[in-house]
């Protein structure tokens, strides 16, 4: 089954004014069920806009977006997806557990089940001991894990992530990447992941979608087949080959392999 289908999408901001910007043009994208797809490209290439279109946080100027076989708006109203942004965006006045419970509360799930589910999700991201803490008491990496737990709490079939690890240090980032893959495998979630880190995109994805700016469009779709990921994957020849491939696609010219993680 297809998790996300984007067809002939065009997005224009400030249409008809002299500051008109074509953010996306002629975008087609298909995410199969269970697939992990990264969107990568320079700033202003519209990768975040594309994610927001899938989430129905903004509407396309032309074309259609289908999520779980429904129009994007319907899918949002049915809460077919979970979403996480670069900023964890936790609510300061709620404990960690109650932050994770928030989407469940809005779905009117009974208190007892809400609590069970939140605890289950916190265990998944390794934060069971911090359920009663407030966000301000956690480190940035822990906050981001809470945000991921919150996105996963409704057991969405689709996970949308907009540079969720962008603000984290490298060590935390690599650990969370591995954790995210484990969680996605366990919950059989399809994921659309926006990043501007090439190694991150390669390590996480089945499919790396390369985009370019002005106007934002998809220039290349690179399948990555490295099997189940382990820490050894980051050192494997196949990993570096894929990194080079993505880098070439991004720059349009061949370059030497460097390990800029």
């Amino acid at each position: 089954m297809t998790a996300v289908s984007v067809q002939g999408v065009r997005k224009v901001f400030n249409a008809g004014r002299n500051d008109e910007v074509v953010a996306l043009s002629d975008v087609d994208l298909t995410v199969e069920s269970g697939q992990f797809v990264s969107l990568i490209g320079p700033s202003g290439c519209g990768k975040s806009t594309l994610l927001r279109l899938i989430a129905d946080l903004t509407a396309p100027t032309a074309g259609s977006v289908t999520v779980a076989g429904k129009p994007a708006r319907r899918a949002r109203l049915d809460q077919e997806y979970g979403i996480a942004f670069q900023q964890a965006g936790l609510f300061d006045w709620r404990t960690v557990r109650r932050n994770v419970e928030l989407p469940l509360e809005l779905r009117k799930i009974p208190r007892q089940r809400r609590r069970e589910r939140a605890d289950e999700m916190l265990a998944l991201v390794g934060l069971s001991d911090f359920a009663a803490h407030y966000p301000a008491q956690l480190s940035g990496g822990m906050q981001q894990r809470v945000a991921i737990a919150r996105a996963l709490a409704v057991h969405p079939k689709l996970l949308l992530m907009d540079e969720p690890f962008g603000a984290l240090d490298e060590m935390t980032r690599e650990r969370l990447q591995a954790e995210l893959l484990a969680v996605c495998a366990k919950t059989e979630t399809s994921t659309v992941f926006v990043t501007h880190s090439i190694p991150e995109a390669v390590f996480l994805s089945d499919l790396v979608v390369v985009m370019s700016a002005r106007p934002g469009r998809i220039t290349d779709v690179i399948p990555v087949d490295l099997g189940p990921r382990t820490e050894a994957t980051r050192q494997s020849a196949g990993f570096f080959t894929a990194v080079t491939k993505v880098r070439k696609a991004l720059r349009g010219t061949p370059t030497a392999v460097t390990a800029d993680t």
Partner: protein, 278 residues
Amino acid sequence: MRKVLGALAAVLLGIVAWESYKAVGDPDGTVVAGVRILPRSDDAAMPHVLDVVRRLARPELAGGRPVWQVLVDACLFTLGITTVGFLVGALVGLLLAVLMQRFRVAERGLLPWVVLSQTVPLVALAPLVAGWGGRIWPAWMSVSMIAAYLAFFPVAVGMLRGLQSPSPAGVELMRSYAAGWWRTLLKLRLPAATPYLFPALRLAGAAAVVGAVVGEISTGTRGGIGRLVIEYSREATTDPAKVYTAMLGAALLGLVVAGAVAALEFPLTRHRRKVLLP
């Protein structure tokens, strides 16, 4: 405990400052080039603190009740008026803020009027409102309305800022949960607004006290602390300590209201107190 000691020390400091000025200041005030730069410090202008306290215990008029009893009664009367004014003002302010947050056009249309409302002199407005007393509502309600008129302003302005304070990411998150305006208000905007609400409520409490006292004076309402301030000040030359007892009562009323607002705040800011702990 430390807070109580601090408050007592502050009161003590005030008394010491008062009495030391009285001891060293010129009884006729210091006048430089025809302008008085320091106040008179004679017994008529600045009675001894002890005299003011003693005056509290003596009867208001010959053979009448002691002054402190009269003051407590007056404070309670004004406290009732203030409370009603504060609640009405806070509610109106809250509703206005929600309305202005919800509709951009309401913010643009209403906010100038809200600001303008506070520039109208209260003394000009009071007789008009007083005219409604006894017809639309009991006379004391007019004073409450004047208090409410002053109290709604800080709540409307502070609350509007608070409701607009959530980040776009928070608002989008609620949108991704298919939460409508009402549920976004309940789950996101109102909780996010509490840090803005309580300072606004404290201002509103103070404004309600001022409104009630001034309202009593300008509508000629009897029984409250505002009336006492006026009555006692007529005796300023013969009984200066009595004037200060009325002011003491007004100050006490302000403290009680401030304390009540602070008590309101306590249960709603648990997370901030907890996070601040080491």
